[in-house]
């Protein structure tokens, strides 16, 4: 019995040490990343105040871009969304809308609105894709930038690969057709490609923000609001934390593993040489960046991935838990698949910072974190059942994690206030502050639960995206 008690005490000590160690490690990494992000952000904003993006508007040397917008059952909004893509502030660009076998009337709307006719475009596909049914261009000179591809359904990655095959310009910008882009977004996204000094810029990404309850007019965001519904409201805060306090630092370290699929630009040649988007994962955006980086490192080609902290793209966040769960479980599956495809990079010095820091960080804090939390919860329940739980310690630990989560959200709000100040209304600020207090007890458990569903789906071999319905933006 004494031996058993000694064993239990030892196990408890180790367990407490492990839990605290993991929590301290994750919190310190967040704070270090936040510090680096702030430093980088301040530098960027200082520089940016002297940058005249309009020089790109009149220059024939501006990088030529092809926008690829995959569309699946977007008939409700496609007319306006394509119109907004065609009216961006940029000269050297074309818009490729890939209709991925929509079951609705998307194609009919596009043909009618943009006066489309079938065309014989000379293409030499470098990436294998599903069959293309037809390529359309407009008879109307006002829409000469537009190419519409009608293809068999093959998923988002397949549609993006069709776009890569058809794109005539050296840089491609992959976007979600339902995103609202800032008018100058392409100017900002293109600039890093001109700034390479000895290193090839293979991709640039911008910040994505939540547009729920914002006012949209003619495909442009005219008024920023904070959603009244708690789930999307906390996602506003979550995106601020991720983009302002996280990715900027990874950008500075050149260890960015993800450029959001909603809005990112790529060097087409490298994207194709790396094999294009993988149709074997639902995390095709992250997987492509990792593969492009891997291609450059394995071929010893100097490169960089650039990151722009300006809010350039606004997207709709899920408002009900069912859709949210689908989205987050898919994100988890995407993470697991990407990390598993590229497992040889894990702690492999050949892949430099990527192998030694980025991949281990994602493995430990993105992939494993929900699992570790779940195991912790199970062990805690076992302790309760056997009367082993030190309640005082348990509540202190909960408060420790809770207070840190609130603190980190307040840092994100501070950062937003001192930089972009997109939420000037007092009421909006207090809504976000309230969200900071609710996030750890309401939103975080939901994300952990969704991630666990993602684990389960991965184990069960679930494939595909599942139906993602959207409510649509508020229009003026």
């Amino acid at each position: 019995m004494t031996f058993f008690n000694t064993d239990i005490t030892w196990f408890l000590d180790v367990y407490i040490l492990l839990i605290l160690g993991y929590a301290i490690l994750i919190m310190s990494s967040y704070l270090i990343l936040a510090y680096l992000s702030q430093k980088e952000l301040r530098g960027y904003l200082k520089k940016n105040s002297f940058v005249d993006y309009e020089v790109l508007l009149t220059s024939e040397f501006a990088p030529k871009l092809s926008l690829i917008a995959p569309a699946y059952n977007e008939g409700f909004t496609i007319e306006e969304n394509v119109k907004s893509l065609l009216s961006l502030n940029y000269n050297n660009y074309q818009v490729i809308v890939v209709n991925d076998g929509s079951k609705d009337n998307s194609m009919e709307i596009l043909v009618k609105t943009y006066d489309l006719v079938l065309t014989d475009l000379d293409i030499h596909p470098k990436i294998e894709t599903k069959k293309i049914k037809g390529i359309y261009t407009s008879r109307n000179a006002a829409f000469k930038k537009l190419i519409v591809v009608d293809k068999e359904n093959g998923g988002k990655a397949d549609a993006l690969n069709v776009g890569l095959n058809i794109a005539q310009n050296p840089y491609v910008v992959c976007i979600d057709v339902d995103c609202i882009l800032d008018k100058d977004s392409l100017l900002k996204l293109a600039k890093p490609f001109l700034e390479s000094q000895g290193k090839r810029i293979i991709a640039t990404g911008g910040v994505v923000r939540i547009a729920n309850q914002c006012i949209i007019k003619n495909g442009r965001l005219v008024e920023v609001n904070i959603p009244d519904v708690m789930l999307p409201r906390i996602q506003v805060l979550e995106y601020l934390r991720a983009f302002l306090l996280g990715r900027m630092a990874w950008g500075r370290l050149d260890g960015l593993l993800l450029i959001s699929g909603a809005f990112g630009a790529f060097d087409k040649e490298i994207a194709i040489l790396a094999g294009g988007y993988s149709t074997k994962t639902v995390g095709e955006d992250m997987e492509l960046i990792v593969r492009m980086r891997r291609y450059m490192l394995e071929n010893k080609l100097p490169y960089a991935v650039s990151y722009i902290p300006d809010p350039l793209c606004w997207t709709e966040a899920p408002e009900d838990f069912k859709i949210f769960k689908k989205q987050r479980s898919r994100w988890m599956r995407g993470t697991i698949e990407t990390l598993s495809f590229h497992k040889r990079m894990f702690l492999n010095p050949k892949y430099k910072l990527l192998g030694m820091l980025s991949v281990p960080y994602w493995t430990l804090f993105e992939f494993l974190a929900p699992g570790i939390e779940f195991i912790g919860l199970v062990i805690t329940f076992i302790f309760i059942i056997f009367g082993l739980l030190n309640w005082h310690f348990f509540f202190l630990l909960l408060l420790f994690v809770y207070s840190f989560a609130v603190f980190f959200s307040v840092i994100a709000l501070f950062s937003e206030e001192r930089t972009y100040h997109k939420y000037p209304k007092q009421a909006d600020f207090f809504k976000l502050l309230m969200a900071a207090f609710i996030e750890p007890i309401y939103f975080h458990p939901l994300t952990v639960y969704s991630a666990l569903i993602g684990y389960k789906e991965k184990i069960m071999g679930t494939k595909g995206w599942g139906e993602m319905t959207r409510k649509g933006f508020t229009k003026k």
């Binding site: 200082k46 105040s49 020089v55 207070s403 840190f404 603190f407 502050l433």
Partner: protein, 272 residues
């Protein structure tokens, strides 16, 4: 008990957690106060800016349309009290620059005279000497906007800066003040002039409508291939057909195939 003893006794967890919780709560509160202070400061500044703008617009419209000189404005005590505050001078300089961009000829000259008489020019020169690159950039932008040619040499010295933003601002200012003279010194530069800088330089030529392009061909003789590339782009974009012989010569003895190809492409564009 010191920290090490606390750790050795194995009872460090509770004090550690308690201390951390207090720390996070306190830090959250401090950040909250900082946010509130920042928001209040912004509101106050915005209010002040609107007030200042009203007065500044009145003063500057009298300078432009009623030929009022600074000597007369100086007599207004209220104006002079405000003029001593740095934020007022910042708003005044910004408004002056915006107006100067919108006016030409005699009106622009009156604004330039006001800039000199009021002593704002001294502020700009001070900024130019500042160690911080962003303040230097502000000074350069102001001096170039008001065509202060005396600042040219100091501005050109900044083109050798390591900071790229400062470099671009200085080159653009140099072009505005002295045209081609603002870039010929680049032939001696060893740093890479990236494409973004090149696009800015070309844009400055177009924006300031630099007519006299004598000397652009000197860029083609640089040992720095990025400077040669800039020269070729300028010749192509500004359609300088008179420079064709220099481009033709370059295409025969180009330092590398990229330049050779670029030169041939410029020749093709200008001769067809």
């Amino acid at each position: 008990m010191n920290l090490w003893e606390l750790y050795k006794s194995g009872e460090w967890e509770i004090p550690f957690l308690t201390f951390s919780i207090y720390l996070f709560v306190l830090a959250s509160f401090v950040f909250y106060l900082l946010i509130v202070a920042s928001r209040n400061r912004n509101i106050k500044r915005e209010k002040l800016r609107n007030e200042y703008n009203e007065l500044i617009e009145k003063v500057l419209s009298s300078v432009i349309f009623e030929d009022v000189l600074y000597a007369e404005i100086k007599k207004d005590k209220n104006f002079m009290v405000l003029f001593d505050t740095s934020f007022f001078r910042t708003v005044l300089t910004e408004t002056l620059i915006n107006l100067h961009k919108n006016y030409e000829g005699i009106y622009a000259q009156k604004l330039e005279q006001f800039y000199k008489d009021s002593g704002l020019i001294k502020d700009s020169f001070k900024k130019l000497k500042n160690f911080s690159w962003e303040i230097k950039c502000k000074g350069i932008t102001e001096l170039a906007e008001f065509n202060i040619n005396e600042a040219f040499d100091q501005i050109i010295a900044c083109t050798k800066a390591r900071n790229k933003t400062l470099k671009i601002t200085a080159i653009n200012a140099g072009i505005k003040l002295e045209g081609v003279k603002g870039i010929v010194h680049l032939t001696e530069h060893t740093d890479i002039i990236d494409e973004w800088t090149q696009v800015n330089i070309i844009s400055a030529f177009k924006k300031h409508d630099i007519g006299d392009t004598k000397g652009v061909e000197l860029l083609l003789e640089s040992q720095n291939t990025t400077v040669v590339s800039l020269g070729l782009k300028l010749i192509k974009e500004l359609k300088l057909t008179q420079k064709v012989p220099f481009v033709a010569e370059l295409s025969t003895k180009a330092p590398n195939t990229i330049i050779k190809y670029e030169a041939q492409s410029v020749l093709q564009a200008l001769t067809i």
